[in-house]
């Protein structure tokens, strides 16, 4: 008897996944644990291992198909086994006859993949009255939400998703079809789920917020010395980086600046977090990912360092739990290693601020004795949402952060 392999549920909040590519083809012998196909959520990608042994008899969904979690994806069994009972309604089947009788037509029309990201006809997005009302109250653009309602309608839960997790913002409805051109001129590459999510999130961020950036620098002598000191230590302590120290300092400094450790809820309210859940921007082969260090304010420097490394590794390997890719209350993005002297980080909505870490350059200053001295200055670029925070308090945060970093050992002692 043939058995089905289902689309795994890759996290509590994940409702469907896109098949990346099939590693096995129909007719292949499969053992339990063999990788059948890769799949991705809008945040991460995974490999699906076979839970059955036998021959891959039928594949119900193809590369790029979006499949609801827990739905049958393929059938494995002995040659000749009947797989019709395993085939989900609406799945493409190689051997399924095309519906011929007109009676069949409405039945086929009934079937559609649930929770499909569909948009209403003619590019006009339908929004339920309740969703519209909620979006107005929350100050978000409901039409940017991913519709999961019937007929591509944006319903309440879609707006809530948009508010809670702006990474999952909807794609722009219609895309212009390119005129036919010779294939050698260029290649059209379809965005991966992650790329699409980044694209939407960044666009929403810049189009819905009042963002501006302040730049400053601090004397990095202390942290560079401390870094040297740690390098000679045993074990995890030796792995602590300048970035980790900045994360540590941010986690402490934010406690005095609750408006920057917050989510904008709507035009009239803000959610202030009691703990610092620090988003850390990680560069991965699939694109930018931002895992969260929950309760960073309660962690020691070495704990932060370890957590950062683990999360970054999981992101790069693509096996991070999607639940760890959300919930941040403030984000740090470090481009110092690329020699960037100053930049404008883009806020991860609905957060109210993001810190960019720049490279260290030598600067001169007047020493107390009147002479000119050279010191290492590390740049900091804070982007904040002016709807939530004014310029002076934002500057005060940046100033305090700089002081804490310049006197890092004092901060550690607290």
């Amino acid at each position: 008897m043939a058995n089905a392999v289902i689309m795994p549920k890759a996290g509590i909040t994940v409702e469907s996944c896109i098949i990346g590519s099939w590693e096995k083809k129909i007719g292949d012998a499969v053992k339990v644990g063999d990788v059948l196909f890769t799949y991705e959520t809008d945040k991460a990608s995974f490999e699906c291992e076979s839970t059955e042994e036998g021959t891959l008899l039928e594949i119900f969904f193809q590369d790029g198909d979006e499949v609801p979690c827990l739905m049958n994806v393929c059938a494995i069994g002995n040659e000749g086994d009947d797989v019709s009972s395993l085939r989900p309604e609406g799945a493409a089947s190689a051997e399924a006859p095309a519906p011929a009788a007109s009676e069949e037509a409405p039945k086929a029309a009934e079937v559609k993949a649930p929770v499909a990201e569909t948009t209403a006809i003619e590019g006009k997005t339908a929004v339920s009255p309740r969703a519209k009302k909620l979006a107005e109250r929350a100050g978000v653009d409901a039409t940017l939400a991913t519709p999961t309602g019937p007929n591509g309608r944006i319903i309440e839960r879609d707006v809530r998703t948009l508010m809670d997790n702006p990474v999952a913002i909807a794609e722009a409805p219609a895309k212009a079809a390119a005129p036919a051109a010779s294939e050698e001129e260029y290649k059209d590459v379809k965005f991966s789920g992650i790329r699409r999510a980044i694209s939407k999130s960044m666009h929403t961020s810049l189009s819905t917020m009042a963002q501006l950036t302040h730049n400053t620098s601090f004397d990095a002598t202390a942290i560079l010395q401390y870094r040297k000191q740690l390098k000679n230590c045993e074990g995890d302590l030796s792995g602590i980086t300048l970035g980790d120290m900045i994360l540590f300092a941010v986690s402490r400094t934010l406690k005095n600046h609750p408006d920057l450790n917050a989510h904008m809820l709507d035009d009239s309210s803000i959610r202030l977090f009691n703990h610092v859940n620090l988003g850390v921007a990680v560069d991965t082969p699939r694109g930018l990912m931002v895992p969260t260090i929950f309760h960073a304010d309660e962690m020691s420097l070495v704990e932060i360092s370890k957590a950062t490394k683990e999360l970054a590794a999981q992101c790069r390997e693509g096996n991070i739990n999607p639940d760890l890719l959300q919930g941040g209350s403030f984000t740090v993005s470090n481009l110092g290693s690329f020699g960037i002297e100053s930049f404008t980080p883009v806020i991860n909505p609905p957060q109210t601020g993001i810190l960019g870490v720049d490279t260290t350059i030598d600067r001169v200053r007047k020493a107390p004795d009147g002479s000119i001295e050279i010191y290492p200055a590390m740049g900091l670029s804070l982007t904040y949402d002016h709807r939530a925070v004014d310029g002076a308090p934002a500057s005060r945060f940046l100033k305090e952060l700089g002081q804490n970093l310049a006197n890092f050992t004092t901060l550690l002692a607290r």
Binding site: C69, P106, A109, S128, R130, A131, P150, R153
Partner: protein, 824 residues
Amino acid sequence: MPKNLFVSPEEVLAPGKVTFKDIPVNQYNKTIKEELKSGKYTKEDLIRIFRDMTVLREFETMLNLIKTQGSYNGIDHTYPGPAHLSTGQEAACVGQAYLLDENDFAFGSHRSHSEILAKALSTINKMTDEQLMDVMENFLEGKCLRSTEKLGECKDVKELAIRFILYGTLSEIFARETGFHMGMGGSMHAFFLPFGIYPNNAIVGGSGTISTGAALFKKVNNKKGIVVCNVGDAAMARGPVWEALNFAAMDQYKTLWESHNDGMPILYNIFNNSYGMGDQTRGETMGQDRMSRIASGVSPTQFHAETVDGYNPLAVIDAMERKLELLRNGQGPVMLETVTYRYSGHSVSDQNAYRTKEEIDAWKEVDPLLTYPAKLIEAGVMTQEEVDAILKETSERMTMICKAAADPEISPYCDFKKDPAVVERLMFSNQVVEKFDDREPEVTVPKEEAEGYKKIKSKTRNVIDENGKPVSKMKMYNLRDALSEVIYDRFYEDPTLIAYGEDCRDWGGAFAVYRGMMDAFPHCRLFNSPLAEGSIVGTAVGYALSGGRAIVELMYADFIGCAGDEIFNQMSKWQSMSAGILKMPVVLRVSVGSKYGAQHSQDWTALCAHIPGLKVCFPATPWEAKGLMESALKGTDPVVFFESQRIYDVGEQFHEGGVPEERYEIEIGDVNKVCDGKDITILTVGATLYRAMDAAKELSEKYGLEADVINLHSLVPLKYEKIVESVRKTGRVILCSDACARGSFLNDIAQKITELCFDDLDAPAVVVGARNWITPPFEFDEFFFPQASWILDAIHEKVLPLPGYMAQNGCTEAEALRRAAQGV
């Protein structure tokens, strides 16, 4: 199916023949002089008979002129309503009314101005001045009397009463607030209870069953007087009239009833004017030569029927005298065919295309308004001058009345602009009446000794016992027990309460709600009716409007169609058409079947909810059933009480602590929230509650969604507050009932929710009903009636797609459009 009536094959299969007695036809042949000599009438009586006939004639003449020329004796008035005139039928009406008094109830036909006025004039003559003043002062707080007094000085109270009755009737016809029923009844529904004048009816033969119910009321409650049921000849072709004749003739009154076992005190009088509208009954649309023949097909007594010359008032009085004696001796029912003729058309638009001028002229030659006074003059009872004086007095009085009734100063219309709720307030009486009479209820055993009642009381009133263990079916107080308990209680409180319907007694009702009651209550309070739904509901209407309380059962809701007129036109409308003077404390139990296919499984709540004037409820739990039945059986309004055969056996699963031992009422109009949730509202009607609970369980267990489940045990009236509160909270609503989805009352509720909660809705309100088919055999129940999976499908497809869920039952838009286009 009483056991003591042995159906003997020897007797039933024995040879023999059916015989009939002769039916007398127009046998009266006395002269005026003979009558005077016998001392039966004084000269004044004979003259008053003439006077009364002139009053009736002038009334119809006046209306005819107002309708056709817009003017009568210089009074200009436009009256747009109906005028089914009885010009020519005066002698028949005056003759009938002559011996009747205020204790005798006369129900009217389709053409009944003359019937009403004749009964009034006769009653006025018999009542004392004090009684008359009392009646007039107390009727509608003297409003009619005050207007009548504006007509000027009056020689005596009787004249005042004549003016009063003419004015009250005409202003009712002219739709004035000063009419007997604020103008809400009009020409076709004019009556005056204090004189024993009961409703006439715009439905041909409508009085057949209603008057029979009034006679049942008199019989069961020992009330004085008899009942006259007036119908026209054309009405004798109608089924409900035949049902009424049979109901009145039932053998059980004599063979089974322990008390009140006289015959039914009712006279069926057929005013035979030979025409329906334009159809001629004799010779064309019926097969009867004489209408008096009909009763021979109903009972061996032949209802003591005879045909009487309705063109001679004294012949009619003579026949009435004999019929009344039979009735007073308990030998009813009786029947009279009173032959008459109408000169006027059916209505004023009648072109008389169906009869010749010669025919009308031939009848006019024997017009009682000419022949009767001629006989009186000939006999020396009165002179031509006296005749002329009466005609003059009648004409002057009518002119005065018409002027007043047409005058908006004296006779204003109800002001709908100032008081838009004027009719609204009349739709229901909304009273609580413990009992309609103070006497001791007639019972066979005291309540505490009634075995059936004791058995109910001994049951566990919850689905789990005090140890948390499930209660066995046999020991569990169920929905059936809840209904039964209240009916028992009310039987012991309201002596007028009677219950009947198909197999209510020995069988205990088809679904055992009356089980055991035959041992507690005599036949006069609980009996088997004929399998004739028109008569079941129609008699209950008559019983209730006469002053009693009735609970009747139709066994299957599908039989509502058989009692369509009685439910939709009579039970529903009389409270408001009478401007609240009549009450309608009728509970009509109907059961929604299962397992019995297309004609025994329908939920017709929508039909009843559509008709203004009916309260409609449908309990789905024992707690609801008990509280609603208590309200229904204490109220004064007609309630169609739906029950589902699927759930008579359910125990109380929702109400904390089970069903209380003590009495309580649930307001008809309230709703019952059985399950709290924040994600989706499910509204249910009837047995679908239990399938909705299954769906709610799956929503919770598989999808983490919590449903707010509200059972709509009442449909009319319906308070929306709790529904709106729930939908505002959840933003999503599914409505579910076993009624066919098209035209289901749920659509009405869904539409109202959409209006009230539009901005809070996350999806349209979705109705899940049965398919628009016949009900297929029980084996295919799940394909026809809503199932839990249908509810989930509807949620998934139309409201809130459920992750990983696959719809199975095809409820997409395309499918809905296809079905609508096909009419299925």
